[in-house]
Symmetry: C2
Subunit: 348 residues, 2 copies
DNA sequence: CCCGGCACTGAAAACGGTTTCAAATGCGCT
DNA sequence: AGCGCATTTGAAACCGTTTTCAGTGCCGGG
């Protein structure tokens, strides 16, 4: 076969075998050059390396993973990619994983339990060595499958107590209570709530429960028309606020259980000429980076998204390598007081 | 071995072989139940399925990919996950891929060429069947490796002409020119620029070149102190604007080549008590969802992020399955006029 | 009754690596 | 020159699937 022919033929993907042939060594030696170079004589090693370079050889990770029974990959499932709070934790997880030589396989569930179950299965098929999940509420069957297949996992954003699964989270209830007490201390009594769908989102549920508990403690009767469960979109916060302002007795403050909705609510107030915080206080949750670039700046609950992600990844990898299930961690949150909250009009 | 013993022993991961043994069929049959159920007798199929269910069997995707020579995975590399404009295209790509039965492997390069090269290699090792890359500028060697290993790829966010690679993009130059002409038509002459690092980001470069060209066409001498190249953070836009306002001759308008920096710039004006657009016009680029929730709302260039992602994924998968390299596509952009831009003070 | 064809199943050869084990080689010493 | 030991190397057995190819059994038609 001439050189020209060689150029024309489909040069199937380069394998370790062709490298071995061209370098006149066995495939075992090539493998060693790749994985344990110190075990190979310098001369041989250089020859093989040169052949590898020359042929643009790229190892087949599938074959490697299959043979070594290690994928060096962890899976991460988040509910949405468009809320930048998850971007923060995702980035931290990527970084922590990378530092330890792991890759991250990302799945986005769009807040659907069905979708999440399918994603978990897909990630297991890809032989992730561990999983980082968002929230604690999911079907028992999923936990069984995970256990049966020995896939370690860490829960984030919400701790799991009854069946105690390892988690790295913060106390959503306490955090939401912190936001509520801030408003109550400012003198608010009629407080509205805008939050996510508590039926499909245990974080939203915990925050709503905290809201209800604080209102109860305040002796204020429950008003269903002060509570809005919406999706995580700016516009949803806006329309919720719109409805809220049409109520017979407007609230003097609204607790938005996430900054996305808070931003929409804030915009609605502005467009209606309602002064914030003079006529309406708004407290958000998450403290997104953008929140201090709004006007007024948003009072919010700062959650340790990056730290949580980093720690979760570290603990998961530790678990994978040591085989010892890690302790759960509960991280602190803090209230960031900014311009969007103040005393109600009557107190001024 | 008693049932109790069975429970105690480490139940290594379930494989197709154990399923076959328990169902008293060959592994070929189990494989068929999984992949071509219609080829298996109903009775056999049900038996096998039951055994699979009972044992929480999860296929080993590595082995599958190895044996079938198909990973049904595409790779996506974006520069950052925290700028939500990439979240939009990423989401669209995920969706398009999922519709066609493909998974997406995500890599984040953090605007580093080194990191990007490493990621491309990692994705190739994972045997992605194709790649969606961001921007067109990268070392020749990478394109060679891609070609040598027959990995189809599509460029996004920036077209590639000289070595014509398939791309789904928009014209960054023309888009930036559109923003500039808007300001010029409003009557601005002294216009500042805040953009990304043109040395490592060909989109930033194209936009900067358009800015310079428009300024030249205007007959306005180049002023290096009106140009700021910064990273993609709110605070970078803010400090750039801060510096800009200290200049001897303040610009009457600033073109921010991305909304992230525009938001920071806007906040700086607000904090300094500089009225926008009366005393300072700001035009952004990307038209992030948040941009219309600011006050004033941000005038910006709307880019077809979702459409671009969706189309890129479709074309890539078409290429993978038909083996025919697709045509490049150039998508239109539009100027969204909102409150942050207006005529300069002197014209009022 | 025999035969062709169909529906179904299993044995075995890949796929591209890792790893174990043993053989070969090289080296310093006596 | 011969020995022992450490260093290198290669052969071969996996890893968990898919897929090809060759049965096997059964049915209907001639």
């Amino acid at each position: 076969m001439s050189a020209a022919d060689k150029k024309l033929e489909t040069p199937a993907r380069v394998t370790i075998r062709e490298i071995a042939a061209e370098a006149r060594v066995s495939i075992a030696t090539v493998s060693r050059v790749l994985n344990h170079p110190e075990q190979v004589a310098t001369k041989t090693r250089e020859t093989v390396k040169a052949v590898i370079e020359r042929n643009h050889f790229v190892m087949d990770g599938m074959a490697t993973a299959l043979a070594s029974r290690r994928s060096r990959t962890i899976g991460l499932i988040i509910p949405t990619i468009t809320n930048s709070i998850y971007a923060s934790s995702t980035q931290a997880i990527q970084q922590a994983a990378q530092e330890q030589g792991y890759s991250v396989l990302l799945g986005v569930s769009e807040f659907s339990a069905r979708e999440e179950a399918a994603l978990i299965r897909r990630l297991m098929e890809r032989r992730v060595e561990g999983l980082i999940l968002t929230g604690a509420e999911r079907s028992q069957r999923i936990y069984e499958t995970l256990a049966r297949n020995r896939v370690p996992f860490i829960l984030t954003w919400q701790q799991a107590d009854e069946p105690p699964h390892p988690s790295v989270a913060f106390d959503n209830r306490q955090a939401a209570a912190m936001a509520m007490r801030h408003l109550i201390e400012l003198g608010h009594r009629r407080i509205g709530l805008i939050c996510g769908r508590s039926a499909t989102n245990d974080r939203a549920l915990a925050r709503r429960e905290a809201y209800e508990e604080e209102m109860r403690a305040l002796g204020v009767p429950q008003r269903e028309w002060l509570i809005f469960e919406r999706d995580f979109e700016f516009v949803e916060g806006r329309t919720a606020m719109h409805r809220m302002l049409e109520a017979r007795f407007r609230p003097t403050a609204v607790f938005c259980a996430n900054d996305i909705q808070a931003i929409g609510a804030l915009a609605e107030c502005r467009d209606r000429g309602l002064a914030v915080p003079e006529e309406m206080s708004i407290v958000g949750f998450d403290d997104l980076p953008i929140s201090q670039y709004l006007s007024p700046q948003l009072t919010s609950i700062r959650v340790p998204a990056s730290q949580m992600g980093f720690l979760a990844a570290e603990k998961l990898i530790g678990w994978i390598e040591d085989k010892a299930q890690p302790e759960s961690a509960l991280l602190p949150v803090s209230l960031i007081r900014r311009g969007s909250s103040g005393p109600p009009a009557k107190d001024r």
